[in-house]
């Protein structure tokens, strides 16, 4: 897929729409999905002259929580800026965003393989209106719905720290999980509440980009319009091949913005350097700056819920379950909470956390169809049916070992994986009622 001659250098920019009740700078409802067009607007979000934007405190707090969850530093002083550009879905001809004083900066996410992904910044801004392109009476038209205009949007920018598509995928899934644990956004790509952009360049000298004074290639290609994690992977593969081909010819890819087109699985040039955007950022004069005291920021940390990483640590340390199982159990906040509740109930009935973890992980029972109480009741029933008496199991095991001398020989010769077969035999003899853990223990003892 990706050749080894070049190393990709990839950075991401992710937009997340917050699920506050009201918009970022006015009291209009922030809900805009499948809503009658232009029914959630007011002078502020329609960009009418004289309207005064006032920032939504909850949105700012949520943006800071995202920053904290991504191990960012929080700014003591922050402000909004105007980003000027002309487009019909941008009512004011500028977007209120943040330029040189983002709410959060210098964060980091560590991936499973230990790779560290730096977070450049996490800042607060507002969404634009929505354009719909349509033919009306045979004429091309663009229709605008301003319900989305002014909805709180958080922008997360990473350092160009990715060196392969797998890390990009894991990072995005981790980010989405964290945001959902925080319960500040649906982070749903399909509904557009999470949007991705990437930038990429290739180098044939990876040694130049590590170390304290990295030398990056002299170009960078941005790719927009990526509507799913799957398409992001495809866009990365396509872009890698495209840039590699240009470099192979001894040329340099043009620094530009490209759009991914899923129907043809290609990226297409949208805007080249010649008409690079000139946003003329300047401080938003209508919104006073924000100042946060140390104690405000400390209080904010108390609002952070337990995040996937902390839950995994707790599960492995206090419940003694494997890291792999812990990852499965923390996939969603709902599942993690379900497991915790089941463990609590299980304690009373002496059902081990590890047992509960395994039945959920192995999908023996569908946790979404059983309440934690029902699950525990079923497990209790099972354990009382179980043959867990070492003496009784010992007899059955003696019999099995006698009938399988070849397997015993293999085991003693170092083929320890035959143990699985033997446990299977015990299960067969007991119609699945043998306690697997105890059978395992007795088998090992007898095979010594």
């Amino acid at each position: 897929m990706m050749n080894t001659k070049y190393t990709p250098i990839i950075g991401l920019e992710i937009h997340v729409e917050l699920k506050t009740q009201s918009k970022m700078f006015c009291g209009c409802s922030a809900s805009h999905f499948q809503v009658e067009p232009n029914t959630h607007t007011c002078p502020v979000c329609l960009g009418l002259p004289g309207a005064l934007p006032v920032a939504n405190q909850k949105a700012i707090e949520w943006c800071q929580l995202i920053g904290l969850a991504l191990n960012c530093r929080l700014a003591k002083e922050s402000k909004f800026d105007r980003k000027n550009y002309f487009y019909p879905d941008l009512a004011k001809s500028y977007q209120i965003s943040q330029y040189d004083q983002p709410l959060c900066y210098q964060g980091e996410v560590v991936l499973k393989n230990g790779h560290k992904i730096g977070i450049t910044r996490v800042h607060m801004e507002e969404d634009t209106g929505k354009s719909i392109h349509k033919k009306i009476n045979g004429e091309d038209q663009t229709l605008i719905d301003f319900n989305r205009s002014g909805v709180p949007l958080v922008e997360i920018v990473t350092e160009p720290d990715f060196r392969n598509p797998e890390d990009v995928d894991e990072f995005l899934k981790t980010l989405r999980q964290i945001i959902r644990y925080l319960d500040v956004s649906d982070a749903d790509m399909e509904k557009g509440s999470m949007r991705l952009e990437l930038n990429m360049s290739l180098t044939s000298h990876p040694e130049l980009i590590s170390g304290s004074h990295p030398q990056f290639p002299n170009y960078k290609v941005e790719v927009k319009n990526i509507n799913s994690f799957k398409y992001l992977q495809k866009a990365l593969v396509y872009e890698f091949a495209r840039q590699a081909e240009i470099l192979d010819r001894g040329e340099t890819p043009v620094q530009e913005t490209r759009g991914y087109q899923e129907d043809v699985d290609k990226t297409i040039s949208q805007r080249s350097k010649e008409d690079a955007q000139d946003y003329r950022y300047f401080p938003e004069p209508d919104i006073p700056p924000m100042v946060f005291e140390e104690k405000d920021l400390e209080n904010l940390k108390k609002l952070l819920p337990e995040l996937p990483q902390q839950k995994r640590e707790k599960f492995t340390k206090t419940f003694g379950i494997s890291t792999e199982t812990a990852w499965v159990l923390t996939e969603s906040k709902e599942l993690a909470l379900y497991f915790e509740q089941a463990v609590k109930l299980g304690e009373v009935l002496k059902i081990e956390a590890a047992t509960i973890a395994n039945v959920i992980k192995n999908k023996k029972y569908d946790w979404q169809k059983l309440s934690p109480e029902e699950l525990i009741t079923k497990l209790k029933q099972e354990s009382s049916d179980k043959v867990s008496d070492e003496g009784a199991l010992g007899k059955i095991i003696d019999e099995i070992l006698k009938n399988n001398p070849k397997v015993v020989e293999d085991y003693k010769a170092g083929k320890v994986q035959v143990l699985g077969f033997l446990v299977g035999q015990v299960m067969r003899q007991t119609q699945g009622k043998a306690d697997a853990e105890i059978s395992n223990k007795v088998l090992r003892q007898k095979l010594k």
């Binding site: 506050t20 009740q21 009201s22 006015c26 009291g27 209009c28 409802s29 009658e36 067009p37 232009n38 029914t39 959630h40 607007t41 007011c42 002078p43 329609l46 006032v54 920032a55 939504n56 405190q57 909850k58 949105a59 700012i60 402000k79 000027n84 550009y85 002309f86 487009y87 019909p88 354009s131 719909i132 392109h133 349509k134 033919k135 009306i136 091309d140 038209q141 663009t142 229709l143 605008i144 719905d145 301003f146 008409d275 000139d278 003329r280 300047f282 401080p283 004069p285 919104i287 006073p288 700056p289 924000m290 100042v291």
Partner: protein, 99 residues
């Protein structure tokens, strides 16, 4: 007197403002804009050595609102001043041409 704006600079400004200018207008505007800019230059005469830069004059900080929904305009009020509407939408010249 500030330097005169070049034709390319005027073209760039026009593009940022989404203005479609004729060559003759660009020439004329290059002169006029340069003049306007030089007028603002009188500000350079002020002694600002002891003045700190600011983008804020109110002295206020942390002006927020709670996350509460207030009533919005009705659809017909929102669209009232639009040149062209369709089915509850604002209509603008096409930004993408459908095949």
């Amino acid at each position: 007197m500030t330097k005169n704006l070049t034709i390319d600079e005027v073209k760039h400004i026009a593009k940022l403002l989404n203005l479609n200018l004729q060559e003759s207008e660009i020439k004329k505007l290059a002169g006029e804009l340069s003049e306007a800019a030089s007028y603002v230059e009188v500000l350079q005469e002020l002694d600002l050595d002891n003045t700190t830069e600011t983008a804020q004059v109110t002295g206020l900080t942390n002006i927020f609102r709670q996350d509460e929904v207030k009533s919005s305009l009705s659809q017909s009020d929102a669209l009232k001043n639009a040149k062209k509407t369709f089915d509850g939408y604002f209509v603008v010249p096409p930004t993408i041409r459908k095949k």
